[in-house]
């Protein structure tokens, strides 16, 4: 399996050849930051097109077709449009918080993006408590939404923010419990080690029944975390116009929009990391020839492929299911999903303790 770490360490040595050590670190940090932001934008653009084309397909339509071949350039046109839009400033808003909110949201999702294992040796932040860090950072996003709803001084945004606060805090519990279930199986919170643990087989196969239950819980909770249908109540456009970001315009609105798509990618990326082996190719223990062929496919392709597949599922049910109501949504979490994930955690612990896993 090709290790991208070879390239990065060679580049590091190359820089050290003519720069002092502190400057090397600075240059590398700047390069990484540029790279992350670039990836962020490109991925967001890809996701916007991806969702538009997919939903068009579900709805017997063609989707964007005019700009470029099959409408491939449509998203670029949209991006430039949103960049040149006026930022409308409103009367009676809390200006500082109003402007701060989109940056909080985008920061939290950029940081999460940096934690993902892109490929063998392609990882930016690798703590020993990596998963814990991701969970912590993801909660900052809620703050941005609450601030946006509060500072806009609008009744719709306030209701949207209220809903999203209730929703995200509730579903974070199930999300965390589903992840802890896998951590119990893996015995580590380090992202790199998590991937290597799945060398023999992915966790969803190794942990069999509890892992599959955890996967389903994760997908539901992640959909709620990203405010996507059927849990898109905070921005339910048929009830609250646009929910918490009703009053935003121009690129500030664009930040919410980008973050929403990127969060979709991030939760899919985490799902592929926790359940489907991250960048680890599909391995079947004992089938060495087959495993070797799988290794020929670059690890970054595996990671992106898995993430896009999970995103596909999430997009699919967004465009199929109606929206749930706030009381139904909270009842679902607190009465069904959370007890189930607690039970599942116990089940996994028993399995691990008795060695009933692969």
């Amino acid at each position: 399996m090709f290790n991208f770490g070879i390239w990065t360490s060679e580049f590091n040595n190359f820089l050290l050849g003519f720069l002092p050590e502190w400057l090397t670190v600075v240059v590398e940090c700047v390069l990484i930051a540029v790279l992350v932001l670039l990836t962020y934008t490109v991925l967001a653009l890809f996701y916007i097109l991806y969702e538009r084309k997919l939903c068009a397909w579900f709805q017997c339509r063609l989707g964007p077709m005019r700009v470029g071949k099959w409408g491939l350039l449509q998203v670029f046109a949209d991006m430039f449009k949103i960049l040149i839009k006026e930022l409308i400033s409103l009367k009676d808003t809390d200006r500082f918080l109003f402007k701060l909110a989109p940056y909080i949201i985008i920061t939290s999702s950029v940081v999460m993006l940096a934690c993902l294992p892109w490929g063998n040796g392609l990882q930016i932040i690798d703590y020993n408590i990596g998963i814990f860090f991701i969970l912590a950072v993801s909660s900052i996003g809620v703050l941005g939404i609450l601030l946006a709803g509060w500072s806009s001084n609008n009744k719709y945004t306030l209701i949207g923010a209220m809903r999203s606060g209730a929703q995200m805090i509730s579903y974070e519990i199930s999300l965390g419990l589903a992840m802890i279930t896998i951590i119990v199986l893996a015995g580590t919170m380090n992202i790199n080690q998590l991937v290597w643990e799945q060398d023999s087989a992915w966790f969803i196969f190794r942990g069999h029944i509890p892992a599959i239950i955890a996967f389903l819980i994760y997908i539901v909770a992640a959909t709620a975390e990203t405010n996507r249908g059927p849990f898109d109540l905070p921005e339910a456009e048929h009830e609250l116009v646009a929910g918490y970001h009703t009053e935003y315009s121009g690129i500030h609105f664009g930040f919410f929009y980008l973050a929403e798509y990127l969060n979709l990618f991030i939760v899919s990326g985490i799902a592929s990391l926790m359940f489907l082996g991250g960048w680890m190719p599909f391995h079947i223990p004992g089938w060495d020839g087959f495993n070797h062929v799988m290794d020929w496919i670059p690890s970054i392709v595996w990671f992106l492929g898995k993430s896009f597949f999970i995103s596909y599922i999430i997009i699919w049910f967004k465009w199929t299911f109606p929206r749930v109501r706030i009381d139904q949504m909270l009842a679902f979490e607190w009465k069904y999903l959370m007890p189930l994930s607690l039970l599942n955690l116990v089940l996994m612990a028993v399995c691990v303790a008795l060695g009933w896993h692969f």
Partner: protein, 543 residues
């Protein structure tokens, strides 16, 4: 008929009777309220439905005409005429406590004629702005634009309302009230809102997510159709009907044409009748498909919306080929239809009938059977049968409350008596029942089309109509079953080529009247669900 006269004479000896197409009873204002109470509550009369309220200005006096229907007397309909001689300060007793539907109806009359209703709980204008000067349907109304210039300032939110209360001595005094309390959290839904399906505005007082009260603010696209009609000739007023409930354009226009034909004594050729009924049913399918799509979309299921529109497109294509337009078809005319059907008509309709059963199954698979959709629709917006009758909620919404109110069965018109179809009734009384009634009515409409598509007779498409249409002196009331309920047209003629008074009794006007009743205690999201399941069309309310 005769026993009604007897019974009314017993209750109110001074009543006079005019025999027309329906019995018209004229009573004095002081006898009106006791008579109304007796008509509703006396055994053997039981006029439990108030079908229409028409304000009138007979130049020497004002007046109100109530059309009452008795469901227990085989849907017999009578008109009650109450003249109000006092032109300075016209007043009449409100019957909104007997028939709840009169709450909004009487506000409309107050708005147009300035007739004050004593004991009405909420005597505000309904369509026009609160600062509007004059009452436009009065015959002596001054239409000078200087009086009511185009406003350059926003209308203030006025929470003031008034009730006219009568004391023992018969003196009437105004008691001021408030619509919302000062400490209530009031959220606007509308006038520009994605889910009100038009420019409708609800002011909603909420407690967290729960609705405490809902106030309907209407009139944002009021066009004064009734006022306009008074200065136009009969053929000229036809096109207004397509622009009220644009999803029942054919039925509405059918109704107005029938009313005029009835007054003229015109016989419509058989071919035209068949074509009219087929168009009515196509329109009904198209309307219910839109209702399906919008319900799905309002609940967040965007894909189902496109499925509904895919089939609706076929119907619009049929309309386009025959009528030359996809909306506002202007197809029915006095005496028949304006143009013959397109050569492809029969083929296209057969194709539609062929595919519909499968497509309906698909809708149920993608939306109706979905657990989230069921949870959102079931038990939401409960409207018991007695309230449906009292608020005169006709059409699919009424039938979802198990009220048999199909005008095609109760007051059969055109060729409907010859056709075999079932009236769909469900007893859930909630949004889910209303939604399912629509889906099942699509099947019934297909059944009607199936019976007619091979039976379109040869012949004229139009009767011979005089160049200038004049109606004899008198008044007529005609009802049809439009897509959303019973649509009524009242015409009063003074013998000239212009109508003296035209009133359109639109079903959506009554539908919006139950919004407050059905939404109370529910959540914000349910307002949208209830709107979608009641399925009102705003231009039909505002006219």
């Amino acid at each position: 008929m005769s026993d009604i006269k007897e019974k009314i004479s017993q209750i109110c000896p001074s009543a006079t009777f005019t025999e027309g197409e329906t019995l018209m009873v004229t009573v004095e204002e002081k006898d009106w309220y006791p008579l109304a109470k007796a008509l509703k509550e006396t055994k053997g009369l039981e006029f439990d439905v108030c079908s229409a309220v028409v304000g009138m200005d007979w130049k020497d006096s004002f007046g109100v005409i109530y059309y009452l229907t008795s469901t227990s007397r085989n849907w017999e309909i009578i008109g009650i005429k109450i003249p109000i001689p006092d032109r300075k300060d016209p007043m009449i007793h409100s019957v909104s406590d007997l028939w709840k539907v009169c709450n909004f109806q009487e506000r409309e009359v107050y708005d147009f004629y300035g007739i004050k209703f004593i004991n009405h709980p909420d005597m505000r204008r309904f369509f026009l702005r609160n600062d509007w000067k004059g009452h436009p349907l009065r015959k002596d109304y001054d239409a000078d634009p200087k009086l009511n210039p185009v406003p350059t300032e926003d209308e203030k939110n006025e929470d003031d309302t008034v009730t006219y209360v009568e004391d023992e001595k018969g003196k009437v005094k105004a008691v001021k009230g408030k619509v919302f309390g000062a400490d209530e959290y009031v959220v606007n839904i509308g006038p520009q809102h994605p889910s009100t399906h038009g420019v409708m505005r609800f002011r909603v007082s909420i407690d967290g997510e729960n609705i405490k009260k809902l106030d309907v603010v209407s009139g944002y696209i009021h066009r004064g159709i009734e006022k306009l009609s008074e200065s136009l000739t009969y053929p000229q007023i036809l096109h207004f009907t397509d622009r009220m409930d644009y999803m029942s354009a054919h039925q509405n226009r059918h109704c107005l044409c029938m009313c005029i034909e009835k007054a003229m004594g015109l016989v419509v050729p058989r071919r035209a009748e068949v074509i009219r009924v087929m168009m009515d049913e196509l329109m009904r399918i198209s309307s219910h498909l839109l209702a399906f799509g919008c319900t799905a979309m309002d609940l967040g299921a965007t894909t189902a919306f496109f499925y509904g529109f895919r089939e609706r497109e076929m119907i619009l294509d049929i309309f386009e080929k025959t009528c030359g337009a996809r909306m506002s078809m202007n197809y029915n005319v006095i005496g028949g239809v304006i143009a013959d059907i397109h050569p492809d008509f029969v083929k296209d309709v057969k194709e539609l009938i062929r595919i519909m059963p499968d497509r309906l199954k698909e809708y149920h698979k993608v939306f109706s059977g979905n657990i989230i959709a069921m949870n959102r629709l079931k038990g939401v917006g409960i409207l018991p049968k007695k309230d449906a009758i009292n608020y005169c909620i006709t059409g699919p919404s009424g039938r979802g409350s198990d009220w048999s109110c199909d005008c095609r069965k109760k007051h059969p018109y055109s060729i409907y008596p010859e056709l075999k179809f079932d009236e769909v009734l469900l007893d859930g009384c909630d949004s889910y029942s209303r939604y399912m009634v629509r889906m099942k009515e699509i099947e019934q409409s297909c059944r009607i089309l199936e019976q007619l598509v091979d039976q379109i007779p040869e012949g004229d498409i139009r009767a011979q109509v005089p160049k200038i249409v004049k109606l004899p002196v008198g008044c007529w009331y005609q009802q049809v079953e439009a897509s959303r309920g019973t649509f009524g047209v009242y015409i009063e003629s003074d013998g000239t080529k212009n109508p003296y008074r035209v009133h359109f009794q639109s079903p959506c006007f009554n539908l919006v009247g139950v919004m407050d009743l059905t939404t109370r205690g529910h959540m914000i999201a349910d307002v949208i669900t209830i709107c979608a399941a009641l399925d009102f069309v705003i231009p039909d309310i505002d006219r």
